[in-house]
């Protein structure tokens, strides 16, 4: 579906006309991310991150395909093959560091994209399906990133695999057999490394497929916008191209600047020294930490230290960690407020910023050793995390009195400009 005033694709060249009859691919692109897609005119820079996430995935797939030409998924030589890439392969160091830091860039961009959605209520009707598919993409990304981190077969790779697959052994009765099945052995070794490589190569293409569904679902209601008010008429929108292609071009420039600074100037800043030690099943690093993008979830995992009811602490941690992501699937129904944008939700807005702070605290605790005060901080922060989504949000959306809202996107834009003009003359 699209708005009735959307530009129509009109091929000029005979070849394009012929192609449009046989395989209307250019038409598809034109309607998806070209002049045929009307977009609210008032999007701010937070709406850049969807396109940037797509760019990050493209970077990961391209560098990854190249790396796979040189990498050897065998426990005996995996570590050395990565160093061979770093030392001997032409431009190998660049490609490997780009892939390594590209993963971090992907998560930075996706986290901003998710929090954009949380602030502006992008998960609400009529865009629930867009949000649900987004959470699926996030889960697939986490699985892909975890398996990718195992491939260099350093100490953190090995012990990360040991710890993460250890989650499954928390499940009563079937846990241990499931873990052994996942690993194809009793500890991470060749079998696990090979299947992780296979899946690490496969999943990004699955992600790309789900992204197509994500965009498809988005195009049915059209993009949301900072006011949260739905598009009413033609005045409210501009065609995606050239307006937002130009803005995304600029966003891409800034994204690449950060990416290049990480890759070339501090490529190991977000990594861990222990992963430059070859995997050694007989010696555990003093302090096992996952990559930064897992820190908040790792903190939740470790916050549960008490056997409560018939469930032991380890299983509580594993359940809570998965629940912390799974509850995002229910978000469109947990928040019943008809107002989307937090700009008009005074109470929710406060809790939103508290959640941002909370996730940072969880991240900090996940990075730190399991000592006080980090343990109690992670426990308090985990309490807020669950309370925010499962208790506070449903209550707030019931009792909150939204602030007055403009009637349309155009009215909001004009009011903003009138304000700016009066401020300038004053």
């Amino acid at each position: 579906m699209s708005f009735p005033w959307a530009n129509q694709y009109q091929p000029q060249h005979p070849l394009m006309k012929w192609l449009d009859e046989k395989l209307p691919m250019p038409r598809l692109v034109y309607n998806a991310i070209g002049g045929g897609y009307p977009v609210p005119r008032n999007l701010n820079y937070f709406w850049n991150f969807g396109v940037l996430a797509g760019a990050a995935l493209a970077i990961q797939i391209i560098t990854g395909i190249v790396l796979a030409m040189h990498y050897a998924a065998n426990a005996g030589v995996a570590f050395d093959s990565v160093e061979h890439i770093m030392r001997d392969v032409n431009a190998g160091w660049f490609i490997r560091y780009a892939h390594m830091n590209g993963a971090s860039m992907f998560f930075i961009v996706v986290y901003l994209h998710i929090f954009r959605g949380l602030y502006y209520g992008s998960y609400k009707a009529p865009r629930e399906m867009v949000w649900l598919l987004g959470v699926v993409i996030f889960l697939l990304m986490m699985a892909t990133a975890f398996m990718g981190y195992v491939l260099p077969w350093g100490q953190m790779s090995f012990w990360g695999a040991q710890v993460i697959t250890g989650f499954f052994s928390a499940i009563p009765v079937v846990g241990e057999p499931v873990r052994v099945w996942l690993l194809g052995g009793f500890a991470p070794d060749n079998a696990a490394l090979n299947r992780f490589f296979s899946l690490h190569y496969l999943l990004p293409f699955v992600i790309a497929g789900v992204i197509i569904l994500h965009i498809w679902a988005l195009h049915i209601p059209g993009s949301s916008n900072p006011t949260g008010i739905e598009v009413k008429d033609e005045q409210d929108t501009v065609p995606f191209h050239p307006y937002y292609t130009a803005k995304d071009g600029f966003g891409l420039g800034i994204f690449l600047l950060v990416f290049v600074a990480l890759t070339f100037f501090v490529p190991n800043m977000l990594g861990h020294a222990d992963n430059y030690i070859p995997a050694n099943p007989l010696s555990t690093p003093a302090h096992i930490v996952p990559e930064w993008y897992f820190w908040p979830f790792y903190a939740i995992l470790r916050a549960f230290t008490f056997n409560f009811l018939w469930i032991d602490a380890k299983l509580w941690g594993v359940i809570a960690m998965f629940a912390a992501i799974a509850l995002l699937f229910f978000l469109p129904w947990l928040d019943s407020s008809p107002v989307k944008s937090s700009n008009y939700r005074p109470l929710y807005r406060k809790f939103f910023w508290l959640l941002v702070l909370d996730v940072f605290i969880l991240g900090w605790c996940g990075m730190s050793p399991a000592e006080q005060p980090y343990v109690i901080m992670s426990q308090l922060a985990s309490i807020y995390y669950f309370a925010h989504f499962l208790i506070i949000l449903p209550i707030v959306s019931r009792i909150e009195r939204p602030e007055p809202m403009p009637n349309s996107i155009t009215e909001a834009v004009l009011a903003k400009h009138a304000d700016a003009a009066s401020a300038a003359t004053a």
């Binding site: 005119r41 008032n42 999007l43 050395d80 160093e83 770093m86 030392r87 160091w93 660049f94 501009v238 050239p242 307006y243 130009a246 803005k247 071009g249 600029f250 420039g253 800034i254 690449l256 600047l257 290049v260 600074a261 890759t263 070339f264 490529p267 190991n268 020294a273 222990d274 430059y276 030690i277 003093a286 916050a303 549960f304 230290t305 008490f306 409560f308 469930i311 509580w316 809570a320 629940a323 229910f330 129904w333 947990l334 019943s336 006080q372 005060p373 109690i376 426990q379 308090l380 985990s382 309490i383 669950f386 309370a387 989504f389 499962l390 208790i391 449903p394 834009v413 004009l414 400009h417």
Partner: protein, 270 residues
Amino acid sequence: MVRPLGFLVGLGFIAALVLAILTTPLTNEPNASHEFHKHPKHLKLASDGLVPHWDKAQLQRGMQVYKEVCSACHSLNLVAFRNIQDLGYTEGQVKSFAKSYDNIPSINPDTGEPATRTGLPSDHFPAPYANEVAARAANNNALPPDLSLITKAREGGKDYIYSLLTGFQNPPANLPKELRPGTGLHYNPYFANLNLAMAPPLADGQVTYADGTKATVDQMASDVTAFLVWTAEPKLVKRVQVGWGAFIFLLIFSTLTYLSYRNIWADKEH
């Protein structure tokens, strides 16, 4: 339905967490070694920062220290003789340097028995021990780590390596008995648990530098650390140089795309 269920689930997690808080002691177990442990000293090298270069004279001295001191116990598996051309040696010098090693593992072509031969530029630095068991057996069950990546494989990087090499000292008088070095161990406050199996490897005048530099412990430690920064990342200088090119290109690109964006939106209020 979602909201009441979510409410109950939330309460469940919160109850488990509250009980966890109530049952977790708020104090950490005392760890006396923290108090004696020191943070690494900063070592300034030419390869630092945003305009790095290789100090080739220093790298050559550092390689000499590795060859004459460290290589007795530590391997350098990832570095090939051909790589040392980066340190300013000519192709011929590399060839004769490789040839000076006569213990490259090989196979006797007639009998198939393990044998040794002289080195070629394509060979890697030979390891001092045939395998891990041999290394442990010769070192009181401690394993001397491979040094190729050591400045990237330790928290604190080059500063840590330099501090460790220069940090051997007598234990302080107030050191608790359980933290004192046992037999075969040596006190070093920069090492994680204060006592390590490596004996102080460097002593003043231990090597004779061809360029006349005075071989103090500090000098040798700096030189060999500089060399190990190179072995860990031979492409470091090139990486930063290429990075500047890419960064400046993208600064211009971002400016252009910003102007282009402003242009296209010039007649549209938003």
